[in-house]
């Protein structure tokens, strides 16, 4: 019947969408250690592309011949506003399109989830001439912007869950080099799907699905100046609970989806046009469970609007504004 199609969808939804959102840009995102200055508003479009041919069915790595290569494209608007230099408000809203290269299953497209974050830097301390420490707290919220279906992975746009997340980030900058570590807990609301009953490890006579929470950790390190940022990052994502895709079964929104990935990001701030920057990055899933082994690329253009004359600095990065 139509086993393998859904399996792939899951991956895209989980890995592509989540991963793209959290590391779309290396500048002024919810996961990095960079703040916008007060009254500055940085905004711009991002494009992301990810694809995979193999996925993990539980712990078993396999291909999905009836889907071929599952790909996902995302166009997103992301923004960061400096309420103060120590408190930023960030948002992102992507349009997503999924596709399978083989088999008969149609892909889907539509507006996915709105994400909002408040990012707070309670502590920033410079020791000596070259070393700065900082700690951040980030509160996140995301909710579907359209009535897309979270079932039918991996071609679904996303998981359709409203989430709340809390993150702690610690950062150290020494000269032109930095390292950042963060940990995130994401609470996920139950979702409803377009059917009245479903089987996980037992039968459920309801259209409501209990979504397990997630924890994530990220480590990133690299070179960071006013002009350039180049970094490598390692991601760890773990769904607390959930269940494995059974042999040749479809994926399901409440599967246990874990993955680790490795990526690089680059950002360049233009010299002649203060406030304009280009970002780009790539990411590869090293290992996973009930997710696809995605390779992702993204790029974007951002511009900083000064919302008041008092904000004199054109550069927003507090840590590297030497």
């Amino acid at each position: 019947m139509r086993i393998s199609e859904r399996t792939k969808q899951y991956m895209i939804a989980a890995v592509l969408v989540i991963a793209l959102q959290t590391q779309t840009a290396n500048a002024q995102t919810d996961a990095d250690a960079i703040m916008m200055a007060k009254n500055n508003f940085c905004v711009g479009p991002m494009y992301g592309y990810g694809s995979w041919e193999n996925y993990w069915e539980g712990t078993y790595k396999r291909s999905a011949l009836n889907l071929g290569t599952v790909s996902s494209q995302m166009v997103s608007v992301m923004g960061d506003y400096g309420i103060t230099s120590k408190l930023n408000f960030l948002f992102g809203a992507p349009y997503v399109k999924t596709k399978a290269s083989a088999g008969t299953m149609a892909g889907t497209d539509g507006i996915q989830d709105l994400s909002l974050w408040l990012k707070w830097m309670p502590l920033e301390k410079t020791i000596g001439k070259k070393t700065t420490y900082a700690v951040y707290g980030v509160g996140g919220f995301s909710t579907p912007l359209s009535n897309y279906e979270g079932d039918y992975l991996p071609l679904a746009l996303g998981l359709h869950s409203t989430t709340f997340s809390g993150r702690v980030i610690a950062d150290i900058q020494h000269g032109d080099f930095f390292a950042t570590a963060s940990g995130t807990y994401t609470l996920r609301n139950n979702i409803t799907i377009n059917r009245d009953a479903y089987y996980t490890t037992s039968m459920h006579y309801t259209n409501e699905v209990d979504m397990p929470d997630m924890v994530a950790a990220q480590f990133r390190a690299g070179y960071r100046t006013n002009r350039w940022i180049a970094e490598a990052l390692f991601d760890y994502n773990n769904t607390i609970g959930g269940f494995d895709i059974r042999k040749n079964d479809m994926p399901f929104p409440s599967n246990n989806m874990d993955w680790t990935s490795l990526g690089v990001n680059i950002k360049y701030n233009f010299k002649k046009v203060p406030g304009l920057s280009l970002v780009g990055g790539s990411n590869y899933v090293l290992h996973g469970r009930n997710v696809g082994q995605s390779t992702m690329f993204n790029g974007g253009v951002f511009y900083i609007f000064k919302m008041s004359k008092s904000a004199a600095t054109s550069h927003s990065c507090k840590l590297c504004s030497k």
């Binding site: 707290g137 009953a197 479903y198 309801t206």
Partner: protein
Amino acid sequence: MKKIFFAIALTTTVGLVYLGCSKDIHGRTDDLPALNPSNIDLDAGSWKLVLLSRPDSFVVAAPAATNLPGYIGELNEVKGLQANLSDDERDKIKYWGAGATLRWNEIMRELVAKYNLPPYQNEDGSYPAPNGANPFAYPQFPFSNPPYAARACGYVSAAQYDALVACWYYKKLYNRPAPYKVDSTIGANAIAVKTDLPSYPSEQAVLAGVTAEMMKMLFPTEIAYINSKVDELQTATMASGACVRSDWVAGETLGRQIASVFAARGRTDNTSKAGGTQAQWDSLATATAAKGEIPWHSLETPARPPMLPFFGNVKPFLFDSLTVKNVLRPGPPPSTGSDEMKKQTEEVYSYTSNATAENLKIVQFWADGAGTFTPAGHWDAIAAEDFVKQNFSEVRWARNFALLNMAEMDAAIVCWDAKYAYFNPRPSQLNPAIKTLTGVPNFPSYISGHSTFSGAAAVILGHIIPERADAYMAMAEEAAKSRLLGGIHYNASDCKVGMDVGKNVGNYAVQRALTDGAE
């Protein structure tokens, strides 16, 4: 600054606590009230049987009188259970108290969904087949696909019905009152709804015995799970004050004996030959090509053998095999090379390339594909939730499910007969540009299984609950249409003809209902 942070922290905490508390999920049938029949159907022992020739084909010995020491001891056992009820046992009493036919049907649907997984391919691109003689080897037996599931539900429900008719026959014959009628202390503590229905043999026990034996045949790897449910039901029924041990033992024995009649039929009803061989699959394609038609082929990679191509030869319940081929089989679909077929294919393409959110919802609601309880299970779920509101007796629950599920099984037989008689390709085979909104089933297109199952179900359910007849027919029409909207069936040939054939099958069930003595 601190105020802002405090506000954020507070909001987040309150939000998290609220969300954390609201995650519990309740199934729609989790909290049903106890079965409280509006009519105990005391004369159901005379209703028309399916396979048994007489309700007393299996002898149930007369019970001991309720004033003898042995029975008094059995009452004490019930009192002991009632004196030490744990919360878990109370939950189980409440669960099973909603009706044992209902709960066994839910368990049945669970097993169907669990085993409804197509096998994964071998290294060489061939596919392994489940083997009933070695059920634990991968792929586990059975692959509970739609025809298998419909047949499984048909056998279980028909066997439950015959078993309960026999049960009611003996209940009336021996007229032993329930424990809560005999002993007022049990009556005071009884959690069961008190009725005048005699308790020997216990109807819950009859259902446990007959269902367990049938399920062991149909799902041989689940014996431990099935037995645990039997034990659970026994404890719950006795602790509820509804039966004593001898009521239970007599009932369970009777149920298991009656199951043996149905199991024997099941082993010789041609299901074991329904899978066919490579040579037979090839000959289906060759014969279709010889007629000048494009033969169906699997759209999966690697190509998968057709699903149960000879299921049309399985012996039905409501009519004989000649009726399947000579009366109920529809005429041929339009030729694959005809303008009509081209037109119908274009219609499918136009729906899939302009899918609205509402259409997608319909496709997904009725998809009932791999890993689900299949269309037959879907109609059982619809029926079950409506039956709850009707306050049927346990024997009438069984009778109505037997009518529904015999119709579903026979609809599967008639539908599969047509599918392999004509071996008609799917829309995506005739036009690869058609991308489907749900998975393409791995069997020929003509006629639509969903439409056939749904037409049959709507007709018999509309007879059972006439005030819902229009609603059932509207649901069936939507289920049929969902296959067109999803891009996996042609409308005029597959969906419409499927509905008509399904309704014809349903009418056989109605004819039986009119003459089985229950109306």
